[in-house]
Homo-oligomer: 452 residues x 2
């Protein structure tokens, strides 16, 4: 390395790229806490973990989202290479590619989850970063609502494990097929349903005049337009049956059945308390074909915690046979904000989520004690114990006990003058009780005490 580079280096204060994060130990402990809840909920629902490359061929992302997505991606080429790549902005294209590559050989249903990092070249803002972690849960190969129930149960069990209750977060459910019946009843032609959904989705972002003009363009009368506005605000309790849903949408009971059946099964699974029917939930993406849902902080603070739904026509676009599918994504950024807002993260910024030290070894004697310390540390670690010791030269037991306290050790073992009698001191730092233990017994003694 040249002197010039070195001078540059010390002159520059290096920063993490805008919209990305450094995870120091406490930040990482919080991240692992969240990921642990995600992983646990996934596994007990029978989902298996997968992952793919951090970057994909750029063309993989234009399949689903068209060329318009390219500006939202971080894309690049290898120096001297010819292929265009992009950092993955979402997981579904990778999942679809992986299903397509082995479609014949995978037992169905395919129940996969992933906890990858994703990237979006957007302006960073609250709840939205350029790099974030997103839990993806997908079930491929099941048509019926039992797939939705298991996927939603997975999300809810994870949120519950993180300390959230139905008073903190709400699962808002709708169903495109059922809402389509309502839209047809309002006079929307079958060929304009996609436009009507887009309109419904963008209602809050369009000027009233623009909204009205677009509504008229797809054949809505002034009265129907008003009813469309009402529809977007319609929420129904989770115990609504097909008749009630049909009444709210102005469609037939038969047409309301898919949503009624879904909410009935959610109630059977004991998830009713978390869920509402909300016809304002559309999900912008055109690829949803049935149920759609979002999870929100109960008061409406923050962006959506999660979003998903059924996408029965998407997998085949990536070269697989036609396969029904349902899934959701839940990012770590908004969820982290909600957990903080709701007081569900430790008040110590994550310190209590760090693994606790089982035993802090203290050599207060001569060179023999140092050798014994090295041996005990190795034996205790082989027994699975989390062992620390000082790297300082001090033999001051008071100072060393204070160091043990700082790394939240449960026990200290002091190798001191009692070694002449073949004994060491075992101090329970929580109870502040000290006993003498024969050297030959100290490993098993600490191992059994730590297992409590």
């Amino acid at each position: 390395m040249g002197l010039y580079t070195r001078a540059m280096a010390s002159a520059t204060s290096h920063q993490a790229p805008k919209g990305t994060r450094d995870f120091y130990p406490r930040d990482m402990a919080i991240r692992r806490h969240i990921e642990g809840a995600w992983r646990h909920a996934s596994i007990i629902h029978g989902f298996e973990e997968i992952d793919g490359p951090t970057f994909e061929h750029l063309s993989l992302y234009t399949v689903k989202s068209g060329e318009g997505i390219v500006n939202e991606l971080f894309s690049f080429r290898r120096a001297g290479g010819e292929d265009d790549y992009a950092l993955r902005p979402e997981f579904t294209p990778t999942l679809a590619r992986m299903v397509a590559a082995r479609a014949g050989g995978l037992p169905q249903p395919i129940k996969w989850f992933a906890i990858p990092t994703h990237f979006r070249a957007e302006r960073p803002q609250r709840g939205r970063l350029r790099e974030f972690i997103q839990w993806n849960v997908d079930m491929v190969g099941v048509e019926g609502p039992q797939a939705e129930v298991d996927v939603l149960s997975t999300a809810i069990v994870a949120l519950e494990r993180l300390g959230l209750a139905p008073s903190d977060v709400r699962v808002k459910l709708s169903h495109r097929g059922v809402v389509a019946a309502g839209l047809r009843a309002l006079g929307v032609d079958a060929t304009r349903l996609a436009d009507a959904f887009t309109l419904l989705d963008r209602r809050d972002r369009l000027e009233p005049k623009e909204f009205e003009a677009r509504a008229l363009a797809i054949g809505l009368s002034a009265m129907a337009l008003e009813r469309l506005g009402d529809l977007a605000k319609t929420k129904l309790p989770i115990d609504s049956d097909a008749d009630k849903i049909a009444q709210a949408l102005g469609c037939g009971s038969e047409e309301a059945n898919p949503l009624a059946e879904l909410v009935r099964r959610l109630r059977d699974a004991g998830l009713g308390a978390w869920c509402d029917i909300d016809f304002g939930i559309v999900r912008g993406l055109a690829y949803y074909t049935g149920s759609v849902f979002e999870i929100h902080e109960a008061s409406g603070a923050e962006r959506a915690i999660a979003g998903g739904g059924r996408y029965d026509k998407l997998i085949e676009m990536f070269g697989a046979p036609p396969m029904p599918a349902v899934g959701f994504g839940m990012g770590d950024v908004v969820l982290g904000l909600v957990l903080k807002d709701r007081g569900k993260l430790p008040a110590d910024d994550g310190e209590s989520l760090l693994p606790r030290t089982d035993v802090f070894l203290i050599s207060a004697g001569a060179e023999f004690a140092d050798q014994l310390l090295a041996q005990l540390a190795a034996q205790m670690r082989r027994a699975g114990l989390h062992v620390r010791h000082t790297y300082k030269s001090t033999r001051n037991v008071g100072k060393l006990l204070s160091e043990a306290g700082k790394c939240r050790a449960r026990f200290a073992v002091i190798l001191g003058a009692e070694l002449e009698q073949g004994m060491v001191a075992l101090k329970d730092l929580d109870a502040n009780v000290q006993t003498l233990v024969p050297v030959a017994e100290i490993v098993s003694k600490v191992a059994s005490a730590s297992a409590i």
Copy 2:
């Protein structure tokens, strides 16, 4: 999405980018198995987990490695942005940046580990991919050899946990300061030591004539040159004392002390059986300042499993105060090959590493049984059990038991005709024993049986 894009999509068979990997569930189970051993070993040695951004400012990588590294990186800009970024090729610059950003506020020693993904724009080959996972373990703030011992113990405990023994892998140790004394004794001027190390490192990649010419250029006589060749092949047992090391290097005992002290402490910690002194270990990178080590498969097959050493002058180059440091990196690709070569991965391609299903629920009755199944599934999952059921409409118990077997369930619970007496059948699928259990007791019964 336009029809054109759709047609393109179905016509194209999408592939993962060259040199990257898709992790299907079994592949992922093996990856998590390796990462789990890494994480466990790190934690019991008192290291705390961190992470940083997947990409950094490109300039962060030229600090340490100069402009030469740029061609080995995947680098990019955001559309419309001005900053140059690169996918991280290694973790040390991120670690140094994170230390520098909080140098004053971090308690020392700083003991961090990370398991990030890394990227190199090289030609993929056996043991070398474009995206790989690398375990990084670093201790910052400790000068003495105890830091090396704990760092090496961490590596060894992880390898041992993965089933490897000293007959499978060898830790090869050297020490640049001590070898420098040997080089000086051979007649290498203090100002040419760096060149001599480079020569030593590249000895196998240089033509003999080229090697000789370079050796002469740094002042080595023909005899000294021969001795340099011998030096590179010199291995000493781990119980060598300073005199033995000095004799092998032709330097003074005092000069050999740092390496002698390190191996003595490794023996004290019970790690001697894993380690050899090997003066052929140099580590190409110029920033190592003391100990250097590599871990290799015992027969010399495959590339190095891990490499590291002491880098006391590096952290300050990133704007932190001067801080001694030692650490290593261990990638998942070579380690995975060695585990496979040595028969330390399950013969079933990872299936037995997947989480086992605790209970498979079977509804063999009417609608009431389906409702009960949904309730029991929810209760059992709340008890932490891994629960599955079919998504098919069949009520054929034989077929459903076969499905339970395919997902390696330990128990099946059959909701059938006995429900009329308030009973369900509990089948232990390992023991092939079936009993009747009251519905009210089935959750606790399965929970306690699964806990065994």
